[in-house]
Protein backbone atom coordinates (compact mmCIF):
# COMPACT_ATOMS: atom_id res chain seq x y z
CA UNK A 1 0.00 0.00 0.00
CA UNK A 2 2.78 2.37 0.87
CA UNK A 3 4.46 1.55 -2.40
CA UNK A 4 1.23 2.45 -4.19
CA UNK A 5 1.08 5.80 -2.42
CA UNK A 6 4.69 6.48 -3.32
CA UNK A 7 4.00 5.71 -6.97
CA UNK A 8 1.01 8.03 -6.85
CA UNK A 9 3.23 10.83 -5.62
CA UNK A 10 5.92 10.24 -8.21
CA UNK A 11 3.28 10.45 -10.92
CA UNK A 12 1.98 13.58 -9.28
CA UNK A 13 4.89 15.58 -10.68
CA UNK A 14 2.86 16.03 -13.86
CA UNK A 15 -0.29 17.81 -15.04
CA UNK A 16 -3.89 18.60 -14.08
CA UNK A 17 -4.25 15.04 -12.78
CA UNK A 18 -2.45 16.08 -9.59
CA UNK A 19 -5.76 17.07 -8.05
CA UNK A 20 -7.23 13.62 -8.60
CA UNK A 21 -4.03 11.95 -7.52
CA UNK A 22 -3.97 13.90 -4.28
CA UNK A 23 -7.46 12.57 -3.61
CA UNK A 24 -6.20 9.05 -4.26
CA UNK A 25 -3.29 9.71 -1.94
CA UNK A 26 -5.64 10.80 0.84
CA UNK A 27 -7.80 7.73 0.37
CA UNK A 28 -4.79 5.42 0.53
CA UNK A 29 -3.56 7.13 3.67
CA UNK A 30 -7.03 6.67 5.18
CA UNK A 31 -6.69 2.94 4.48
CA UNK A 32 -3.31 2.99 6.18
CA UNK A 33 -4.87 4.66 9.22
CA UNK A 34 -7.45 1.88 9.43
CA UNK A 35 -4.66 -0.67 9.42
CA UNK A 36 -2.92 1.26 12.19
CA UNK A 37 -6.08 1.10 14.39
CA UNK A 38 -6.92 4.79 13.98
CA UNK A 39 -10.46 4.46 12.63
CA UNK A 40 -11.54 7.95 13.66
CA UNK A 41 -8.57 9.50 11.93
CA UNK A 42 -9.23 7.41 8.82
CA UNK A 43 -12.80 8.61 8.80
CA UNK A 44 -11.78 12.25 8.99
CA UNK A 45 -9.00 11.86 6.46
CA UNK A 46 -11.32 10.22 3.93
CA UNK A 47 -13.95 12.92 4.37
CA UNK A 48 -11.68 15.95 4.61
CA UNK A 49 -8.58 14.95 2.65
CA UNK A 50 -10.16 13.00 -0.17
CA UNK A 51 -13.45 14.89 -0.25
CA UNK A 52 -13.27 18.53 0.69
CA UNK A 53 -9.70 19.31 -0.27
CA UNK A 54 -10.09 17.71 -3.71
CA UNK A 55 -13.18 19.83 -4.29
CA UNK A 56 -11.30 22.93 -3.15
CA UNK A 57 -8.34 22.22 -5.43
CA UNK A 58 -10.66 21.57 -8.36
CA UNK A 59 -12.46 24.84 -7.67
CA UNK A 60 -9.17 26.70 -7.63
CA UNK A 61 -8.16 25.05 -10.89
CA UNK A 62 -11.45 26.12 -12.45
CA UNK A 63 -10.78 29.70 -11.38
CA UNK A 64 -7.14 29.72 -12.46
CA UNK A 65 -5.27 27.70 -15.06
CA UNK A 66 -5.24 23.99 -15.76
CA UNK A 67 -1.74 23.32 -16.96
CA UNK A 68 1.43 23.61 -14.92
CA UNK A 69 4.43 24.94 -16.74
CA UNK A 70 7.83 23.45 -16.36
CA UNK A 71 10.03 25.07 -13.80
CA UNK A 72 12.90 26.98 -15.29
CA UNK A 73 15.49 26.76 -12.57
CA UNK A 74 17.43 23.56 -12.07
CA UNK A 75 16.23 21.02 -9.48
CA UNK A 76 19.75 20.40 -8.12
CA UNK A 77 19.65 22.70 -5.10
CA UNK A 78 16.16 21.68 -3.89
CA UNK A 79 17.14 18.04 -4.33
CA UNK A 80 20.25 18.60 -2.24
CA UNK A 81 18.28 20.36 0.49
CA UNK A 82 15.69 17.60 0.53
CA UNK A 83 18.28 14.83 0.68
CA UNK A 84 20.16 16.48 3.53
CA UNK A 85 16.95 17.07 5.48
CA UNK A 86 15.84 13.48 4.88
CA UNK A 87 19.17 12.09 6.00
CA UNK A 88 19.04 14.17 9.17
CA UNK A 89 15.53 12.98 9.95
CA UNK A 90 16.55 9.36 9.33
CA UNK A 91 19.47 9.81 11.69
CA UNK A 92 16.95 11.10 14.23
CA UNK A 93 14.81 7.97 13.92
CA UNK A 94 17.68 5.69 14.92
CA UNK A 95 16.86 6.29 18.57
CA UNK A 96 13.14 5.64 18.11
CA UNK A 97 11.54 2.52 19.59
CA UNK A 98 10.60 -0.30 17.25
CA UNK A 99 7.29 -0.13 15.43
CA UNK A 100 4.45 -1.40 17.60
CA UNK A 101 6.52 -2.06 20.70
CA UNK A 102 4.27 -1.86 23.79
CA UNK A 103 6.92 -0.36 26.08
CA UNK A 104 7.70 2.69 23.95
CA UNK A 105 7.66 6.03 25.80
CA UNK A 106 4.54 7.09 23.92
CA UNK A 107 2.69 4.05 25.27
CA UNK A 108 3.80 4.28 28.89
CA UNK A 109 3.27 7.93 29.79
CA UNK A 110 -0.26 9.35 30.02
CA UNK A 111 -2.24 7.20 27.62
CA UNK A 112 -2.72 4.16 29.94
CA UNK A 113 -4.31 6.65 32.34
CA UNK A 114 -6.70 7.80 29.65
CA UNK A 115 -7.59 4.23 28.75
CA UNK A 116 -8.15 3.29 32.38
CA UNK A 117 -10.07 6.33 33.56
CA UNK A 118 -12.26 7.28 30.62
CA UNK A 119 -14.77 4.35 30.99
CA UNK A 120 -15.92 5.39 34.45
CA UNK A 121 -15.14 9.11 34.25
CA UNK A 122 -16.68 9.87 30.85
CA UNK A 123 -18.65 6.74 30.03
CA UNK A 124 -18.25 6.96 26.26
CA UNK A 125 -17.13 3.72 24.63
CA UNK A 126 -14.89 5.46 22.11
CA UNK A 127 -11.80 6.65 23.96
CA UNK A 128 -10.80 9.00 21.13
CA UNK A 129 -14.10 10.83 21.44
CA UNK A 130 -13.77 10.94 25.21
CA UNK A 131 -10.33 12.53 25.07
CA UNK A 132 -11.20 14.87 22.21
CA UNK A 133 -14.35 16.28 23.73
CA UNK A 134 -13.53 16.09 27.41
CA UNK A 135 -9.90 15.79 28.50
CA UNK A 136 -8.60 17.92 25.67
CA UNK A 137 -11.71 19.99 25.09
CA UNK A 138 -9.76 23.24 24.95
CA UNK A 139 -7.77 21.92 22.00
CA UNK A 140 -10.98 21.31 20.15
CA UNK A 141 -12.22 24.78 21.06
CA UNK A 142 -9.00 26.27 19.69
CA UNK A 143 -9.35 24.20 16.54
CA UNK A 144 -12.82 25.59 16.00
CA UNK A 145 -11.41 29.09 16.41
CA UNK A 146 -8.75 28.34 13.77
CA UNK A 147 -11.31 27.03 11.31
CA UNK A 148 -13.52 30.07 11.94
CA UNK A 149 -10.63 32.45 11.34
CA UNK A 150 -9.66 30.61 8.15
CA UNK A 151 -13.24 30.80 6.95
CA UNK A 152 -13.35 34.55 7.52
CA UNK A 153 -10.02 34.92 5.74
CA UNK A 154 -11.18 32.96 2.71
CA UNK A 155 -14.40 34.94 2.53
CA UNK A 156 -12.54 38.26 2.72
CA UNK A 157 -10.06 37.17 0.07
CA UNK A 158 -12.62 35.83 -2.37
CA UNK A 159 -15.52 38.24 -1.89
CA UNK A 160 -13.83 41.44 -3.00
CA UNK A 161 -12.48 39.95 -6.23
CA UNK A 162 -14.44 41.97 -8.71
CA UNK A 163 -14.89 45.13 -6.67
CA UNK A 164 -11.21 45.45 -5.88
CA UNK A 165 -9.86 44.98 -9.36
CA UNK A 166 -8.47 48.50 -9.75
CA UNK A 167 -7.35 49.48 -6.26
CA UNK A 168 -5.57 46.66 -4.52
CA UNK A 169 -4.76 47.20 -0.86
CA UNK A 170 -1.64 45.36 0.06
CA UNK A 171 -1.62 45.92 3.80
CA UNK A 172 -5.08 44.42 4.16
CA UNK A 173 -3.98 41.37 2.24
CA UNK A 174 -0.89 40.75 4.31
CA UNK A 175 -2.95 41.22 7.46
CA UNK A 176 -5.30 38.45 6.48
CA UNK A 177 -2.72 35.92 5.56
Amino acid sequence: MLVATAIAIVRMQRLFAIAMLSGVFSLLSALLFVVLDAVDVAFTEAAVGAGISTVLVLGTLALTSRVAKHSTHSPAIPLLVVLVTGATLMYGTLDMPNFGSPDAPAQTHVSPDYLERSPHEIGVPNVVTAILASYRGYDTLGETAVVFTAGIGVLLLISGLHRRREDEDEEEESGES
Binding site: S22, L36, D40, V48
Partner: protein, 145 residues
Amino acid sequence: MNGEFTWDFIVGHMNYWLFIVLMMTGLYIVVAKGNLVKKIVGLNIFQTSVFMLYISMGKVTGGTAPIFPADMIIDPDVVYSNPLPHVLILTAIVVGIATTSLGLALIVRIREEFGTIEEHEILEIEKAIAAAENKLHGEAMGGRA
Protein backbone atom coordinates in the same frame (compact mmCIF):
# COMPACT_ATOMS: atom_id res chain seq x y z
CA MET B 1 22.53 1.43 19.24
CA ASN B 2 24.16 2.75 16.09
CA GLY B 3 26.44 -0.25 15.80
CA GLU B 4 23.81 -2.97 15.66
CA PHE B 5 21.78 -2.90 12.49
CA THR B 6 19.95 -6.14 13.09
CA TRP B 7 17.10 -7.34 10.93
CA ASP B 8 14.70 -6.61 13.78
CA PHE B 9 15.90 -3.03 14.00
CA ILE B 10 15.54 -2.43 10.27
CA VAL B 11 12.02 -3.85 10.07
CA GLY B 12 11.00 -1.98 13.20
CA HIS B 13 12.14 1.33 11.76
CA MET B 14 11.05 0.81 8.16
CA ASN B 15 7.77 2.63 8.79
CA TYR B 16 9.53 5.79 9.97
CA TRP B 17 11.84 5.72 6.95
CA LEU B 18 8.98 5.28 4.50
CA PHE B 19 7.14 8.21 6.03
CA ILE B 20 10.28 10.31 5.85
CA VAL B 21 10.61 9.46 2.16
CA LEU B 22 7.01 10.57 1.61
CA MET B 23 7.64 13.69 3.64
CA MET B 24 10.68 14.57 1.57
CA THR B 25 8.72 14.02 -1.64
CA GLY B 26 6.23 16.60 -0.43
CA LEU B 27 8.99 18.99 0.58
CA TYR B 28 10.64 18.57 -2.81
CA ILE B 29 7.40 19.47 -4.58
CA VAL B 30 7.02 22.55 -2.38
CA VAL B 31 10.56 23.75 -2.97
CA ALA B 32 11.25 22.81 -6.57
CA LYS B 33 7.96 23.21 -8.40
CA GLY B 34 6.92 26.66 -9.54
CA ASN B 35 3.18 26.12 -9.82
CA LEU B 36 1.40 27.36 -6.71
CA VAL B 37 -1.40 24.76 -6.76
CA LYS B 38 1.20 22.03 -7.01
CA LYS B 39 2.97 23.54 -4.03
CA ILE B 40 -0.23 23.31 -1.98
CA VAL B 41 -0.66 19.66 -2.97
CA GLY B 42 2.94 19.01 -1.95
CA LEU B 43 2.27 20.66 1.38
CA ASN B 44 -0.69 18.33 1.85
CA ILE B 45 1.49 15.30 1.16
CA PHE B 46 4.04 16.52 3.67
CA GLN B 47 1.29 17.02 6.21
CA THR B 48 -0.29 13.63 5.69
CA SER B 49 3.03 11.85 6.08
CA VAL B 50 3.57 13.61 9.40
CA PHE B 51 0.14 12.34 10.44
CA MET B 52 1.15 8.82 9.43
CA LEU B 53 4.32 9.14 11.50
CA TYR B 54 2.35 10.08 14.60
CA ILE B 55 -0.31 7.41 14.13
CA SER B 56 2.32 4.73 13.61
CA MET B 57 3.94 5.71 16.91
CA GLY B 58 0.64 5.03 18.66
CA LYS B 59 0.26 1.52 17.25
CA VAL B 60 0.77 -1.38 19.62
CA THR B 61 1.43 -4.81 18.16
CA GLY B 62 -1.63 -7.02 18.58
CA GLY B 63 -3.68 -4.02 19.65
CA THR B 64 -7.06 -2.97 18.39
CA ALA B 65 -8.82 0.36 17.89
CA PRO B 66 -9.36 2.16 21.21
CA ILE B 67 -13.13 1.64 21.32
CA PHE B 68 -14.66 -0.26 24.20
CA PRO B 69 -17.59 -2.66 23.80
CA ALA B 70 -20.93 -0.89 23.94
CA ASP B 71 -21.92 -2.58 27.20
CA MET B 72 -18.72 -1.17 28.74
CA ILE B 73 -17.68 -4.59 30.06
CA ILE B 74 -13.97 -4.37 29.38
CA ASP B 75 -11.89 -7.47 28.94
CA PRO B 76 -8.57 -6.72 30.68
CA ASP B 77 -6.66 -8.90 28.23
CA VAL B 78 -7.48 -6.83 25.15
CA VAL B 79 -4.69 -4.50 24.09
CA TYR B 80 -5.76 -1.10 22.78
CA SER B 81 -3.64 1.17 20.64
CA ASN B 82 -2.71 4.57 22.00
CA PRO B 83 -5.68 6.95 21.54
CA LEU B 84 -3.78 10.14 22.25
CA PRO B 85 -2.03 10.51 18.83
CA HIS B 86 -5.38 9.88 17.17
CA VAL B 87 -6.91 12.82 18.99
CA LEU B 88 -4.04 15.13 18.16
CA ILE B 89 -4.07 14.15 14.50
CA LEU B 90 -7.83 14.61 14.25
CA THR B 91 -7.30 18.21 15.31
CA ALA B 92 -4.36 18.55 12.94
CA ILE B 93 -6.33 17.29 9.92
CA VAL B 94 -9.04 19.87 10.43
CA VAL B 95 -6.53 22.67 10.94
CA GLY B 96 -4.73 21.42 7.83
CA ILE B 97 -7.80 21.75 5.65
CA ALA B 98 -8.29 25.27 7.03
CA THR B 99 -4.79 26.32 6.02
CA THR B 100 -5.17 24.60 2.65
CA SER B 101 -8.36 26.49 1.89
CA LEU B 102 -6.74 29.78 2.92
CA GLY B 103 -3.76 29.05 0.66
CA LEU B 104 -6.02 28.23 -2.27
CA ALA B 105 -7.98 31.45 -1.71
CA LEU B 106 -4.69 33.36 -1.75
CA ILE B 107 -3.83 31.64 -5.05
CA VAL B 108 -7.14 32.76 -6.54
CA ARG B 109 -6.38 36.31 -5.43
CA ILE B 110 -2.85 36.15 -6.87
CA ARG B 111 -4.26 34.91 -10.15
CA GLU B 112 -6.68 37.86 -10.22
CA GLU B 113 -3.86 40.27 -9.53
CA PHE B 114 -1.04 38.90 -11.68
CA GLY B 115 -2.83 36.70 -14.22
CA THR B 116 -0.58 33.74 -13.51
CA ILE B 117 0.04 31.15 -10.82
CA GLU B 118 3.63 30.39 -11.77
CA GLU B 119 6.19 31.54 -9.26
CA HIS B 120 8.87 32.83 -11.62
CA GLU B 121 6.38 34.80 -13.71
CA ILE B 122 5.06 36.48 -10.55
CA LEU B 123 8.62 37.35 -9.54
CA GLU B 124 9.29 38.89 -12.95
CA ILE B 125 6.11 40.97 -12.81
CA GLU B 126 6.96 42.16 -9.31
CA LYS B 127 10.45 43.09 -10.42
CA ALA B 128 9.04 45.09 -13.31
CA ILE B 129 6.61 46.89 -10.99
CA ALA B 130 9.41 47.69 -8.53
CA ALA B 131 11.62 49.02 -11.34
CA ALA B 132 8.80 51.22 -12.64
CA GLU B 133 8.18 52.60 -9.16
CA ASN B 134 11.87 53.29 -8.63
CA LYS B 135 12.00 55.18 -11.88
CA LEU B 136 8.91 57.19 -10.97
CA HIS B 137 10.29 58.12 -7.57
CA GLY B 138 13.65 58.93 -9.09
CA GLU B 139 12.09 61.40 -11.51
CA ALA B 140 9.99 62.94 -8.75
CA MET B 141 13.12 63.49 -6.65
CA GLY B 142 14.89 65.14 -9.53
CA GLY B 143 16.97 62.11 -10.42
CA ARG B 144 18.65 61.88 -7.03
CA ALA B 145 16.92 58.81 -5.62
